[in-house]
Symmetry: C2
Subunit: 422 residues, 2 copies
């Protein structure tokens, strides 16, 4: 049996006719290597923005179901055009949307998770010599409802397909050269990583590195799919390979530094110090699929027997969070709710920090030396994150990138570093 | 059980945000009348043209399968936006594409015929109080391949849905006020018909009146679905009702006059006068789904024992026809093939002509008086068509419209008479 390579091209890679033809050449090159190829594509360039704009003009609060119906059309345009481009070069190719394949998801609109992918149609068409072009970002429920996978969904589609097909590798083609030690737009001496572990990549992604959506990395990790992030426009550069940590040789304690400006801090004041209050609060948020990142519960003020609970969430979840808090405030007998969006989360990530003491203290010292106040801290085995004031984010990133010896010899040649749209 | 009304809105009726909101108001008005409403929409304005242009830039001969994948996205955008507009007015609505409903077609790309429509999902959603918005023009094969229905396909989708749901009526909203006695762009005194029979409408459509595609009228006739053609922009005008001829009172022998400039005449010369030659010729064309309209076989030239066969086809089928003729020429031992595209077909249509002799001779005399040469003639029970030179088409149309007393008191107020795209 031939090896299967899954390739994913984001919206900027298929933004116009010439770029689609370029993608076709990249796809064909892999086919000519003797591999079976499955290609996942996003909507062309700013298609999604255009569709969202029309929707908002018609209905300021469009239903999530109809938004999914609307947005899923963008990928169907891309797959048809890319398939035509591949056929124009004399190769057999066929396009499929998510309904046709059976990319089964949960019944949640606008950010569904993939449950299962049927492979019979894919295998049959590969066996017939076809290059298969699949619409990313979309799925279908058991009842035939069209869903979308949320931000970075096409990456997840590609990885899930690679897992389902037991593919040799999943190549994520994008408009950057790979995964960097930090954002090259802020730190020009950021260096490209040749290899990184799923675990580190996950923490990097959660910490605000926009190259890959965390969900796609989680899926790759779960099914041990080797993932390569590489440039659509410079295919001779092999980019960054993402693997299981057990397959890597780790030299540096810290692999990367990231900042995340997308969070807001919410403080619920004066929650009575009785058991179950935190569970009520976070349970209600979880019921609505709102992810909470950092949490700090202040020491109870013994005089009043109350706690303050501070947590961070993604900015776009704030309106829903506030309405949930409003509805449970009475039940919690809580006081004021304060919101602070003038914050940044800065993180250092490295599988090597497990065995090396002193990394955390180096981080805190470096921030202190630069007069940067730490407002919250969270840690995992391979990550340390500090919440700081937004105005200090760039300064912190540069200082940490330097102190952990991540600088490249030369400045990175950054062509474009905006994340692909889906 | 509530009555079901199916409404269809073409591309010009949903060309922009304001027009979509206008359509939503028309839909809601019918719902407020106490009816269940199923709406079929085409792609917005020039969406299809735009998609076709991109496809041709990528591949001058795009595969029909991928064109169907590409073009079917246009209707999915429309249904999502219209559903959002209806919801914005506080009404329950839900959109479905052809795969979701199960609008089953033959496995022929770009001009499939509908075989069956599943109604369980539709009925369930109507029973839940939803207005249902369905993507026109598209279908799905049993194998899950996406098909499109060809020109006028959305009309056919609407009529087929009305038949499947046993609807009270199917209203085709378009940019004209109804069906006219002839093209008001050419004959300003064309009058709008209040009622016309399926049979007459079919002949009118085949004769080049662009208001409705023949296939939709055939389907309406087959299932006795009352059809109303009316204006999207003037919904107080009830337009033209199309019914079975048995339900009509017929006053005039001729209901309408039409010209068709879309045909070409092909002459295959010197076909040996042996049995089966015509069958080989037209069988080969039929195998490729090429419709032949008029046919004339000249008297055999006894000296050579050969015939000339002349026939007319649609212009867009000419390249395929020529390649078929090329492949069977040797088998037929035929001579030259001549093509003449400088022709027009002019037709008079009327269910009333069955019982009234002299209609044909009036037609031929009128053309003769105007110095118009007749090159071929074909007739049906309710239609007489003459092939004439293209330059005479307008003159013929005006003369026939006048001689059969079809003129309105006043000139028609023609807002737009281009057919809707699908």
């Amino acid at each position: 049996m031939k090896k299967i390579i899954v390739q994913k091209f984001g919206g900027t890679s298929v933004a116009d006719i010439e770029k689609i033809k370029n993608v076709a050449r990249t796809v064909i090159k892999e086919k000519d290597n003797g591999n079976d190829v499955v290609v996942v594509v996003s909507a062309m360039g700013h298609t999604t923005d255009h569709l969202v704009k029309m929707a908002k003009e018609i209905n300021p609060n469009p239903s999530a179901r109809e938004m999914d119906m609307l947005l899923s059309t963008g990928e169907c345009v891309s797959i048809a055009l890319l398939t035509m481009a591949i056929q124009a070069a004399g190769y057999k190719a066929v396009s499929f949307n998510a309904i046709q394949i059976g990319i089964l998801t949960e019944n949640i609109h606008s950010k569904a998770r993939i449950i299962d992918i049927k492979t019979d149609k894919l295998r049959k068409n590969l066996d017939n010599g076809n290059i298969i072009v699949v619409a990313g970002f979309q799925g279908v429920t058991e009842d035939g409802e069209i869903t979308t996978l949320g931000r970075g969904g096409s990456d997840t589609s590609a990885v899930a397909l690679a897992a389902a097909l037991n593919a040799q590798r999943c190549d994520i083609y994008t408009d950057v050269e790979g995964v960097y030690t930090t954002d090259p737009r802020i730190v020009p001496k950021a260096s490209r990583l040749d290899v990184i572990s799923y675990e580190e990549m996950l923490e990097l992604a959660h910490a605000g590195a926009n190259v890959l959506h965390p969900r796609s990395v989680e899926t790759a990790k779960q099914y041990a799919v080797p993932l390569r992030v590489r440039s659509s426009f410079n295919i001779d550069n092999e980019g960054t390979l993402i693997l299981g940590v057990e397959k890597m040789e780790i030299n540096k304690p810290v692999a990367g530094v990231a900042s995340d400006l997308s969070q807001v801090r919410v403080v619920v004041c004066d929650i009575p110090d009785t058991p179950g209050e935190a569970a009520t609060l976070f349970g209600s948020l979880a019921d609505e699929n709102i992810s909470v990142d950092m949490i700090i519960q202040s020491y109870a003020r013994k005089a009043y027997n109350t706690n303050d609970i501070a947590f961070t969430i993604n900015k776009e979840d704030l309106p829903r969070t506030m309405s949930i808090l409003d509805s449970i405030k009475t039940k919690l007998s809580a006081g004021d709710v304060k919101v602070d969006d003038d914050i940044a989360k800065i993180s250092i990530i490295g599988a090597g920090m497990i065995d090396r003491p002193g990394i955390a203290s180096t981080m805190f010292e470096t921030l202190a030396k630069n007069n940067i106040n730490i407002r919250m801290i969270s840690t995992s085995e391979i990550k340390i994150s500090c919440l700081i004031n937004k105005e200090d984010a760039q300064k912190a990133l540069k200082a940490l990138h330097s102190v952990f010896n991540l600088e490249a010899e030369e400045s990175a040649d950054v062509k474009g570093t905006l994340p692909d749209e889906d």
